[in-house]
Structures are given as structure tokens and as C-alpha cells.
């Protein structure tokens, strides 16, 4: 009996969790670094119908790194963001390819954010100043034992 319970617990832990990906607009996880502590005065997009959603955590205050979770446009292959720091406005353009594929009854169609066809760095991200430190097109990742599930999106860090 104990063996059965142990096996049941082990199979539950190792079975993992099927990740269905984003339900709606995928996320751009943006981190902006700067030598001196700063704050983002304004942040908006050029193509949106509605204002950007509020951030899931407090992002006020001076810091040398600022993180924002921003939505990606589902109806285009790029999204443009404008941010203002210390009175200067800059434009960030992120390029991508959206892949939609039916998976199963539980997930329906699953969305995956992929690199644009042209994989050269300037065709992935363009910014009016600063330098791209890292850009990663994250695939959906199923959860498993000691492995967290993850929804597809883009992780981007820039240094001004």
C-alpha cells in the first residue's frame, strides 16, 4: 500500500503540466539598465487601442534597473513602445513572428512567439539609443518536477 502511495506521488510529480501558452496578448519582459538610478516618466505604445495595462507590481522609485511587463500586438509582426526618461523620448521596436497551432481540447489553439524570419539583431529589436544586451524569444515550456511552466513571450534587456 505504501509503495502504491509513493508511486502515485512520484508519478504526479514527474507527470508535469501541459502549458497552453498565452490566453491573449503575449508579454514583453523589458528590463532597462542605466548607470545612474532613474525612473521611467512615461511609457506608451504607438499602435494600441487602449492604454497600457497597469503593472503587476510597484515599479515606482529610482533604481538603476527598471522592469516592465508589456503586451505584444497580436495583429502585427512588430510592436513599438515609446518611453521617456529624464525628459528624453525614445522609441523601442520589437519584431517577432506569431505562430498559432491547434494542440488539443484543453488548450485549443496555442500561441508561440518566435524570432522574425530575418534573425539579424537589428531585425529583432531597434531602439533610438542605447544597446541591446539580450533578447530571447521564449517558447512555451511545460511544467515538470522542479521545472516551472512558462508562457511564450519575449525577454529583452537594454542598456542606455
Amino acid at each position: 500500500m505504501r509503495l502504491l502511495i509513493v508511486l502515485a506521488i512520484l508519478s504526479f510529480l514527474l507527470a508535469g503540466c501541459d502549458e497552453c501558452g498565452p490566453d491573449g496578448e503575449p508579454a514583453l519582459d523589458l528590463i532597462i539598465y542605466q548607470a545612474n538610478p532613474f525612473t521611467i516618466d512615461t511609457l506608451y505604445t504607438l499602435d494600441s487601442q487602449q492604454p497600457l495595462p497597469s503593472q503587476p507590481y510597484s515599479v515606482t522609485g529610482l533604481n538603476s534597473a527598471q522592469q516592465r511587463i508589456l503586451p505584444i500586438n497580436l495583429n502585427a509582426d512588430k510592436t513599438r513602445y515609446v518611453f521617456q526618461i529624464n525628459g528624453r523620448k525614445d522609441t523601442l521596436t520589437v519584431f517577432y513572428t506569431l505562430d498559432f497551432a491547434y494542440r488539443n481540447r484543453r488548450c485549443g489553439y496555442v500561441l508561440t512567439v518566435k524570432e522574425p524570419p530575418d534573425k539579424s539583431p537589428d531585425q529583432q529589436v531597434q531602439i533610438t539609443r542605447g544597446k541591446i544586451q539580450n533578447v530571447w524569444y521564449m517558447p512555451n515550456q511545460d511544467g515538470a518536477f522542479l521545472k516551472e511552466s512558462r508562457k511564450s513571450g519575449i525577454s529583452l534587456s537594454i542598456r542606455l
Partner: protein
């Protein structure tokens, strides 16, 4: 339409007149299916109709012929999918000849189903993404086993309450791999292309008035 009704009427009369039995032909409709002409809580709309004719044969059983139409406009299913389905079907089988009481029967099922739809990803900031699911037409071939109980309502009316289990195979293209949701003649299904569904039916049968009792021509 008039010609068609005349042909069907004449065929029924001929069958009834020449049948070598004293049992009546039964004509029925599923009275439960029209009751589903409504929108269910998840905004799924069904339009269903089914007619049945049971013809007694010389071996003491009934030959059962069913024809029906089914239509389903689903709400959001499979997380982000909406499917529209319609199709026609015919069921042919036999069942015991008794008119009242418990019966077990089987029917073969053939039909046609058309499916199309769309899927949506919500876009509160930039706008929703809506894309079509390619239309597909498939044939249905299956087998229906049912258990039923028939009650006599009056001299000429019977009520039949039935439960059925229907495995079937869908034959045809399935480019987008979207699982079937509703199949006419079966109902809501699991699996694809081998599907299976369970359902219930409530049929009201009328005995045809022009049945002819078997009498000897030499009396």
C-alpha cells in the same frame, strides 16, 4: 416538395398494404430534439430534428429508418475555439417487433458533416486576434446501440424513451486537426476521427391508420 411528399406517402401506403404482417407501421419524431432549440449556458445553439419510420417485416421484427438534421453553433470551446457544425444523417437498423415495453436495438449510421469556425486571442490593448478555422466536409460511418422503453399513450400513440451509445468514424480531411465537437446523429462527441457519443431520445410514434390486417384470401 409536394412531389417528394407524394412519393413518400405512396411508398408508405404500398409498404403498408403489402406487408405480410398485421403489425402497423410506426412513424415518429424525436420530441426532445426540438426542445434543444435554445441557447445553452455557454451560448451554444443547437437546431436538431429527427424523423423515424418503423416498418414491420415478415420475421416479426421492425425495420427502423431514421433521418435527421443537426446544427450546432458552439460557444467558446477548447479555450479559444468556436465551431459551427451542420449535417444530415440516416440510421437504418432492426429492433424487436413488440410495441410496448423494453427493447434493445441497433442501427447503422451514415451521414455528412460540415464544420468551420474561428479562434480568438483576446487583445485588450491592441485588439483581438481572430482567425478562421478552414472549413471541412466529412462523412460519418457508425454504429448505434440503444436501449429503450416504449409506453402506450393511446390506441394510436406510443412514447419511446431511449438511451444510445454511438461510436463512429469520420472520414475526410482534417487539416487543422481541430477535434470534432458535435456530430449530427450522435451529439456531443469525444475523440476524432474515431468519435463516440452518448445521448437520449424521446420519440412520439403514431400508428399509421391504413394498416391492413393479414387475412387469408381463401376464406
Amino acid at each position: 416538395m409536394k412531389n417528394c411528399l407524394l412519393v413518400v406517402g405512396f411508398a408508405l401506403y404500398s409498404i403498408s398494404s403489402f406487408a405480410q404482417t398485421d403489425r402497423p407501421i410506426l412513424i415518429g419524431i424525436d420530441v426532445l430534439k426540438p426542445a434543444l432549440l435554445l441557447v445553452t449556458p455557454n451560448r451554444t445553439l443547437f437546431r436538431l430534428a429527427e424523423a423515424t419510420i418503423k416498418i414491420p417485416n415478415a420475421s416479426g421484427r421492425y425495420l427502423s429508418l431514421m433521418a435527421g438534421y443537426g446544427e450546432c453553433h458552439s460557444g467558446v470551446i477548447y479555450r479559444n475555439v468556436k465551431l459551427n457544425t451542420y449535417g444530415y444523417y440516416v440510421k437504418i437498423g432492426t429492433e424487436p417487433g413488440k410495441q410496448v415495453g423494453f427493447t434493445a436495438s441497433w442501427n447503422s449510421l451514415i451521414g455528412f458533416v460540415h464544420e468551420d469556425g474561428n479562434y480568438t486571442f483576446q487583445g485588450p490593448t491592441f485588439g483581438d486576434y481572430l482567425a478562421p478555422i478552414p472549413a471541412r466536409n466529412r462523412a460519418i460511418i457508425g454504429f448505434e446501440g440503444s436501449l429503450a422503453h416504449q409506453f402506450r399513450l393511446s390506441e394510436s400513440l406510443l412514447l419511446r424513451l431511449s438511451g444510445r451509445l454511438t461510436p463512429a468514424l469520420l472520414i475526410g480531411p482534417k487539416e487543422d486537426k481541430v477535434n470534432a465537437y458535435f456530430i449530427p446523429g450522435i451529439g456531443l462527441v469525444a475523440g476524432d476521427p474515431l468519435v463516440c457519443g452518448v445521448g437520449i431520445g424521446l420519440h412520439l410514434f403514431v400508428k399509421l391508420p391504413f394498416q391492413k390486417k393479414l387475412t387469408s384470401q381463401h376464406d
